[in-house]
Each structure stands twice: as structure tokens, then as C-alpha cells.
Symmetry: C2
């Protein structure tokens, strides 16, 4: 995909995608990462157990509750939260290094994490909330996740209804009616945000040279 | 192109494109209008003489200085300015009607007009500044306009150097190195801005219905 800002030096951005469980956020994230070389996923740390097929460092970095607390106390996390009885957090240093190198970072986190990040990073944040097209569609998607039992689905539907109330704290809202359209829309947001004047830190020099006749 | 916001009711936006003469703004505007059914051009009024091939109401609405002053005094113009000794202005009513109907309006105006519009309309405005990739490229493009004489070209180059200084008042900046890439970038800005939460006035109702189980 178009990197969005030509050869002008720019600061990376933090693209936060949030949604109720089952709205399609994870599939959209995967497609974005596959199609955008300049976008990398912020790997969260978590205290929850590894699920079948998951690899540490790929999906999450799996840590003990003791190690998690140590990172919280050392203020090494951009955000952290407790979800379904387990702790999740985002190590800060790797993210800041990416932004300074003009690399964009994708965050697949919930509204609690987004609030904490928004409070810390200001203009680097680009926040997108994904909504399902209907409640029926959301329930179907949750049911299709074979590893979840009936009571887990009921709990997630209740949580989804609660999570949905946070759409109004996000900069952009995408209703995920069609997967490819939704991916294209989030990509458009990414291209546009890269073109924001305030992110293109090389423009002052570029225009100075233009006006000198280069 | 993707209309950007599915079936959710939304308010239209005002897409302002500005650039120094010869940076490619007019060609980009034409391509955007051809490819986007939901985008229409705001037709300016002007007191300058019609050029060969121009039609009143298509390129500009050509008016007398007396009529122009009458519209200024009646406060019927969103912005107006004097450029190369002639007056140009944007009638307000047609624009406001479009926005209320969810129709986007494109403005091909200079930094003076953009300042006046920004002062009046607030969040409806999406402003994009187009820069040439180099001064040489800019001069080539101005020379290719056969109807302009040498002194007119010199005057325009001087004016372009001045106009360029206003890039830092715009929300987005696109360096026009390649025509198709630049059109795609402005289209991405358009798609993204349509997805801004604050423009999607139908979202409150949509999420309320979702949470009620629709």
C-alpha cells in the first residue's frame, strides 16, 4: 500500500483498533499488517495461559503475574488492564523507538487501554472503533469460535454490549459490514493520517529548499 | 470510490484544495470530481473575463463588479478575495444545503479564501495543501500553459513562492510527485474524513439499536 508521505521525513503514528469481541477487529488487524510494510504490531504482554496454536512473542509475550507487576512498578508499560481475570499490557520503549524512526505501530487493545494511551501520547494516537453491523452478526461470530463454551459466549455478548458504549471516545468509527471494505477504510485512515501536516516533520526543510529554487 | 460511511447518516464535509499555481491542484480536483459521485465542486463567482473554452456556471459564474459588491454587502459569500486584479468569491447557501444533505463539496481556492472559510465553518473543513516536488517542475508546468506570456510566468513564479509559505495552515500536505498517487492520497483523506466519528451523525441511533439487540 501507498506509504502515504513520499520521501518527506515523518513521525510514526500509533493506530489503535478497538471493538467489541466478535466485531472483526483481529481479522482486520491481520490484513493491515500483511499489506503494510511500514506497520508493525505492538506485542502485548499477558498473564493469561497460552491458547492452542499461540506462540510467545508472536501473539503475546506470556509472563508471570510477578514479572507483570515488576514492569508496572518500573513504569515500563504504556497501558495495562485486567480482562476476564487476566492482566494485559503494552511495553512502552519498543513503541517509542518505532515512532521516532517513522514506523507506524498497530494496537489491538480495548477502550481501557486506549484511554490510558490517549492520556499519555497525545497527537501520536489515531483511534478507530470497529462496530458490528448487527447484534445477530456479532452473536454468530462469537458462536463460530469453537473453543468458547455457551456461558463464555453469554458473558462475551454482555461484555460486547458494554464495550460498544465506548465508541464515542474514538476519532474514527468503522461499521464492519464487509471485510474488504472495512480493511480499505482503515487503510485510508492510515494513508490520510500519514499526510497530516503535523506528522510530516520534514516539511519545513522541504519547503525552505523549494523556495530557494531546488 | 468507497463512499466511506456505509448507511450511517452523516454530515457532508468541505474539502479545500490549495496550492501554488502550477502544482497540479486543478488536475487533481478534476480527477476527484470524476471519480466521486458524492463530491461536487463549489462554483466560484468572479469578475474576471471569460477565457477561451470557459463556460459560465461550469468553471466560474462570471459577474459584474457591481453584482459582486452586492453579494458581499448582503453577506452571501463564504469567502472572497482579489487575485491578479480580479475578484473571486464563494456563494454560501448552495454549500450549506449540500452539507446538510450529506453531500461533500470541493473548493479550489487559495490560502486567503481558506482562512476566511476556516474562520466561519470550523469542523466541516478539511484542508489540503498541494506542493510541487521541485521548483523546476513548477516552472515547467507554468511554461506549458501556452496562453501565459513570459512576464505573466515570472509574476506567477514569484506569487507561487509566496503562496507556498502558507502550507503550515493546512491540515494535510500532499507533495505532488506523481499524479495518480496524489489523487489516491486526496481520495484517502476524503474516505478517512467521512469516517470521523463527529461527522457520522447517525451513529448514536445506530449504536442504541445495536445495544437493543437489532
Amino acid at each position: 500500500m501507498d506509504s502515504g508521505a513520499g520521501s518527506i521525513r515523518r513521525r510514526g503514528l500509533m493506530l489503535v483498533l478497538s471493538s467489541p469481541s466478535g466485531a472483526g477487529k483481529t481479522s482486520i488487524s491481520r490484513a493491515l499488517l500483511e499489506r503494510n510494510k511500514n506497520l508493525s504490531l505492538s506485542i502485548s504482554i499477558t498473564t493469561r495461559a497460552k491458547r492452542p496454536g499461540e506462540t510467545s512473542g508472536d501473539d503475546y509475550i506470556f509472563v508471570t503475574p510477578t514479572d507483570f507487576n515488576l514492569m508496572v512498578n518500573r513504569r515500563e508499560l504504556l497501558e495495562h488492564a485486567k480482562v476476564f481475570g487476566h492482566y494485559y499490557g503494552t511495553p512502552e520503549k519498543a513503541v517509542i523507538d518505532c515512532l521516532n524512526e517513522g514506523q507506524d505501530v498497530l494496537f489491538d487493545i480495548d477502550w481501557q487501554g486506549t484511554q490510558q494511551i490517549a492520556d499519555k501520547v497525545g497527537d501520536d494516537l489515531v483511534s478507530v472503533f470497529i462496530l458490528p453491523p448487527s447484534t445477530g452478526e456479532l452473536e454468530d461470530r462469537l458462536r463460530r469460535r469453537a473453543q468458547d463454551k455457551a456461558d463464555v459466549i453469554a458473558e462475551r455478548m454482555a461484555k460486547a454490549a458494554d464495550e460498544m458504549t465506548h465508541w464515542d471516545a474514538y476519532q474514527y468509527v468503522v461499521v464492519n459490514e464487509d471485510f474488504e471494505t472495512s480493511v480499505a477504510r482503515v487503510e485510508a485512515i492510515l494513508v490520510a493520517e500519514r499526510l497530516k501536516r503535523t506528522r510530516q516533520s520534514g516539511l519545513v526543510d522541504f519547503v525552505t529548499r523549494l523556495r530557494q529554487g531546488y
